[in-house]
Symmetry: C2
Subunit: 321 residues, 2 copies
């Protein structure tokens, strides 16, 4: 069985880790292809940082910081402290010593002419994803960057997504998002093919605007989802109308969408087959033939995530003729 | 008083540290300009590493590893261990976590369009050199790299100087040295001017071939030394015909020069005014008007280095009319 999952960072990584754990019991030979969002990517200290891909690598590799959800476990910050002493910003984005090694390796390999896909495959090999039957693909090899348009004193101003998300904690109201380069991007090798040939496609509870929404904006991805024969099951990123973590509600507000599981399903209605919501959102409705199930969505442990992933696969099976 | 010193890495840095300590007592207002060798520079992990400049920065900044002579005190190697796990070489060149921050800052600033001189000034400001009246200048802002031509099985092969020096420990016989880019390099801003307007010029016991010799190869430097009115005093890098540390003898052999204080003085004879040798080399002779003194050259402590620097200044004063 080939399962494809689009994914942002923490929520997506935890869901896919649960999916892998579930499959290890029920269908060890099943393969998972993860298409990761690269809109959050940013160049810091001259090094290319891919926050969502890194969170996927570390979480699936078993070396992530489970408390924060991002970064490495057992991290230290000697390099960042030195750079701060040299006057090199930023001080608002944590770059640990273990983590920065990933960015040095990535930047070195990109500079040697490897594509982001090739770089990601090398990193994934080290963290055991390849051996575990998980293929991690960046959504595109073309550098794209999500910018957030803010309004201050009647003037519009754009900042990098990470600056809004991490430094401003998404507390300054976003007017809209602009993903620089997205319209000219092409899907990375394997992305469209894996969607077309998948047996099941899962949307984890990632941010529907700046994670899943950005992946859907890569030319060809949305069409591939509409055309694939695979059932497509989405997991709502909201529990009781609120994001579990992250600030998906702030992103939804910016694009004029209510923070409800019903409204988020509407963003996917042209390709979605089934929608998994929390019991607290049991009043969710979806248009047309989209089937809605409710199951507990909270993933506090790998077991809970595995149970949720199992429910998503059950829903996919239920959809099949 | 303006003192100019050409310098390689460990030996030069220890000498200049002693010089500063001596002047702090005898002439606190005296200023020192150090022209550092950049022929050893190398790009590792995509980052620009300047071993001699860094050794000068750390030693003069009081944060160097005194035991090794290079690198930072209290160093750790988490980044390098991670990169090794990613399969990123080299494993033969130690790049500590504190040290790598310098290379990240330097590479970032170079990428932003700053010259190596400007970058070095920023680094020097952090380490207190500027405040201590020490100006550190790279010999040139143009990237140059010393390569070592080896002969293996009758075939010539060139390797980067660091590979020969650090990985091979200079144990493979060098046929000759080629400094790529040196003939097209120009002296960095301030280098020729400081030599021309100096009150005293000192050559510390740095490697006469791959450190001082490379600086002398920067177009204009040798002419400036010949023409300056300042007395030029050299300190022999040999004690009893052997280098104190480093492998100056292997470098001298490669260019067909005997490992004697007499022969090394000969390399500088067109501009040298006085030559300081160890009592064990008291039989040293020098051509023409070059005055030879013998004083203990070993610098085991800052005090010993200060005494040596004081002797060099005494010799410069003795030369003056």
């Amino acid at each position: 069985m080939n399962i494809v999952s689009l994914s942002g960072g923490v929520g997506g990584a935890r869901f896919v880790r649960g999916l892998r754990a579930h499959l290890d019991v029920t269908d060890p030979g099943a393969r998972i292809t993860v298409v990761g969002n690269t809109g959050d990517d940013i160049t810091l200290w001259g090094l290319r940082v891919c926050p969502d891909l890194d969170t996927l690598l570390y979480t699936l590799g078993g070396v992530g910081n489970d408390e924060d959800g991002w970064g490495r476990a057992g991290e230290s910050y000697r390099v960042q402290a030195e750079l701060a002493a040299y006057g090199v910003p930023p001080d608002w984005f944590g770059l640990g010593d273990l983590d920065v090694s990933t960015h040095i390796a990535r930047s070195l390999w990109l500079g040697q002419g490897l594509s982001l896909s090739q770089v990601t495959a090398r990193l994934a090999a080290r963290w055991g994803l390849t051996a575990a039957g998980v293929t991690l693909l960046p959504m595109t090899d073309v550098p794209v960057e999500t910018h957030v348009v803010l309004e201050e004193d009647g003037q519009e101003r754009a900042v990098h997504f990470q600056e809004w998300w991490v430094r401003m904690r998404a507390e300054v109201r976003a007017r809209r998002f602009v993903v620089a380069g997205l319209d000219r991007a092409t899907a990375a090798p394997g992305v469209l093919e894996s969607i077309r040939s998948a047996d099941v496609i899962l949307l984890p509870p990632s941010n529907p605007v700046v994670s899943i929404g950005v992946i859907l904006g890569v030319p060809g991805v949305r069409d591939a989802l509409r055309e694939t024969a695979a059932p497509i099951v989405g997991v709502s990123p909201l529990i009781g109308g609120r994001p579990v973590r992250g600030r998906a509600d702030a992103c939804l507000t910016a694009i004029g969408i209510p923070s409800t599981a019903t409204a988020v399903a509407g963003l996917y209605e042209d390709f979605l087959d089934a929608w998994l919501v929390d019991p607290s959102d049991a009043d969710t409705t979806a248009r047309g033939t989209v089937r809605v199930w409710d199951r507990p969505l909270l993933m506090r442990t790998v077991d809970e995530a595995a149970t949720l992933a199992g429910a998503a696969l059950d829903l996919a099976r239920a959809h099949r003729p």
